[in-house]
Amino acid sequence: MEQLETFRSEVRQWLEDNCPQSQRSLAAPEEQYWGGRQGSFASEDARLWFERMRERGWTAPEWPTAYGGGGLNPQQARILKEEMKRINARTPLYSLGIWMLGPALLEYGNEAQKQQHIRAIVNGEIRWCQGYSEPGSGSDLASLQTRAEDMGDHYLVNGSKIWTTSADKSDWIFCLVRTDPAAKKQEGISFLLIDMASPGVSVTPIELISGESEFCQTFFDNVKVPKENLVGELNKGWSIAKALLVHERKLMSEMGSDSPREQVPPTVAAREYLPFEDGKIADAQLRSDLVDYEMQMQAIALTHFRTFEERAAKVHSAAPLVMKYAGTEAEKVKSELLLAIMGSRGLGWEGEGFSASELDTLRLWAMSKAMTIAGGTSEVQLNVIAKNALQLPQS
């Protein structure tokens, strides 16, 4: 405990000395640094902050120092996160490589793959996107059809991937591809890394109901991929994908607290948009809805902390399994609640007559609908809980 407290005061001092003042506030989307060949810094301070964190390996605090990571244990990493949050320090590098691919590579990749990719992720040199879903396979991910044929010295990839977030700005994509069409669904799938600069790769953005187009469809037309880009064993990609989905679900469940465009907290919005009587919100229904949401969020936050503590104590429970479902459903409730609190002021789409935060609220409300779909729908989450936590019989 004492060591951890010493670590905390060192971290606090280091952040105090090294985090530029301009980097101590929520980053607007255009201020986030995502790295990669197309990546650019919004300001000189953003570059400085990123470089200082990178030097300590704190863009990926828990990864081994041998590959450029910070080498922190889970408790130390949590302290770093808490101390950054305390001063509102920005995430220095946003990266699917850090959140998703890296953990899988560290576990399943060979030494050459780790050498080639991990440090490049930590250093923000390569930006990654994910190629799982396909137009014909949404929740039933294992029915994917993109094929990788063994051509002797390389694989030949044909097919397309959808919901590839920011594929148009990414350098490499990690994909699930079918390598054995004859095998049962999950057994003929492999995990392949593909350089987006390869001939035959093309990308089209998709416009959403929120007006954003962060998602893309990515096409593979006779793309040659070197054989050393296969991660793990041939036809064993599904187990890697499952391990990765755990990271994605954890990420989705954390997005409420980590989101760069944070919505106004509903309790703050209530003070701005609702009349009070005797210190209470006058509208009894909205007051009741607000307290329901606040209590649920506190329960979720406590459960989140419980998963940390259980991990440190090596205790297993069903808590991690329920976080994605609980977290994303609560985000939807929050967005609906904000619209109800703001009334017609929460319905502005663009332009004059609305504040920036009012416009953001509506866009985030629309985006919240995707949260219970992406990364495994809520219905799939419930299937997983029924099967893995409750061991209910499968039909």
């Binding site: 309790t267 209530a270 003070r271 009070f276 210190g279 209470k280 919100i281 007051r287 009741s288 607000l290 307290v291 329901d292 606040e294 209590m295 649920q296 506190q298 329960a299 979720i300 406590l302 459960t303 902390f305 419980r306 503590e309 259980e310 440190a312 104590a313 205790v315 429970s317 069903a318 808590a319 329920v322 479902y325 609980a326 219905e379 989450q381 419930l382 299937n383 809980i385 029924a386 936590a389 409750l390 061991q391 209910l392 019989p393 499968q394 039909s395």
Partner: protein
């Protein structure tokens, strides 16, 4: 670490679970009910529970206690929720002991705490005066008379009120009806002159009573703390009670849910185990989600009692409100998913359903605690 049990706590939990499953299963409550037992619980069992130290878990060593912390007591109470065990654990070890520990004089502590810890004395908190929990709406009066006081008024929903040796009575010394100022706490024997007790048989087959106080003489030394200034102590006692009751409801919810999930794995309809039907799987999975969240809430609430008492009011209301909702949902689903046998008295699920409804009213229903939580948060 507050949200994960340590080795000692796990051991205590296992001991309690094994003991209660062996000595006081739901079947024991059914027997008490069917025999219309006068005491309403098994005194021999209570003595054994006290020998295991359960009535003294939270008390300081100086008063014969184990100083094991409120979380330890919560774990035992959670297990008693699995077996629906009738005992003075809640009324005496939580409410009575807390009131004397937090509000009593040194002499009162020495007189009562070791006796409660040993199971020699049981207590009941006579608080409610209407059919909803309104701890400030007190009309029972405590008026000075000679060297002491006179007590007049009537109380309802007094848990263990007909069996407890001592009654801990909330009365008004001064102030308006709904004011938290002017309240007093007195401890007097149930058999005092002028006290009349009417046992009430409630849905859960556990002990409760209506009590009238008519011109009851109360000696000055029976007042716990300062007359007219009991609110801070009373509120802390109630919050401890709410957290303990939430722990009991967590045990009740887990047990009825586990029994239901087991049934889903054995009952066949239309040639398939009903647990393979997605309509039921999703409802069960949603309950699992809420159970995990409530588990975290209860663990946190138990730990703030000892470690961050300034957070206790908020956490107590969070815990009671969340567990009220959970217990209601789980017991309703438990009956529905059991189908026809779910509504028979033979199946024990009905005992959980009924206890849940009583527990939901004890020390504040969902609406009471949502309102309190919102007010504490400033909206």
């Amino acid at each position: 670490m507050a949200l994960v049990l340590n080795e000692e706590q796990r051991l205590l939990q296992d001991t309690a679970r094994d003991f209660l499953a062996e000595r006081a299963p739901v079947e024991a409550l059914r027997k008490l009910r069917d025999a219309r037992d006068d005491t309403g619980y098994d005194p021999a069992l209570w003595r054994e529970m006290c020998e295991l130290g359960w009535a003294s878990i939270t008390l300081p060593e100086a008063y014969g206690g184990l100083e094991f912390g409120f979380a330890g007591l919560g774990l035992v109470i959670e297990q008693s929720g699995r077996t629906l065990t009738a005992s003075p654990l809640f009324a005496s070890a939580v409410l009575g002991a807390s009131a004397i520990l937090l509000g009593g004089s040194e002499q009162q502590k020495e007189q009562w705490l070791p006796a409660i810890a040993a199971g020699e004395v049981t207590t009941a908190l006579a608080l409610e005066e209407s059919h909803h929990h309104r701890p400030q709406q007190i009309d029972t009066t405590l008026t000075p008379a000679g060297d002491g006081y006179t007590l007049n008024g009537s109380k309802c929903f007094v848990l263990d009120g007909h069996s407890a040796d001592q009654l801990l009575v909330v009365a008004r010394s001064s102030g308006e009806r709904d004011s938290r100022d002017g309240l007093s706490l007195v401890l007097l024997p149930r058999d005092s002159a002028g006290v009349s007790v009417q046992r009430t048989i409630m849905a859960d087959s556990r002990n409760a009573a209506n009590i009238r106080f008519e011109q009851v003489n109360v000696p000055a030394e029976a007042v716990i703390g300062e007359a007219g200034a009991a609110w801070p102590v009373l509120e802390a006692v109630l919050d401890r009670g709410r957290v303990a009751m939430a722990a009991e409801m967590l045990g009740l919810a887990k047990e009825s849910f586990e029994r239901t999930v087991a049934y889903l794995k054995e009952r066949k309809q239309f040639g398939a185990l009903i647990g393979s039907f997605q309509a039921l799987q999703h409802r069960a999975a949603q309950i699992q989600v809420e159970l995990e969240l409530c588990q975290s809430v209860v663990l946190q609430a138990l730990s703030v009692v000892d470690e961050q008492p300034e957070q206790l009011p908020l956490m107590a209301s969070l815990a009671k409100a969340k567990l009220n909702e959970l217990a209601k949902r789980v017991t309703n689903e438990a009956v529905q998913m059991h189908g026809g046998i779910g509504v028979t008295d033979e199946l024990e699920i009905g005992f959980f359903l009924k206890r849940a409804r009583v527990a939901m009213q004890i020390l504040g229903d969902t609406g009471f605690h949502k309102d309190r939580y919102a007010s504490l948060c400033g909206y």
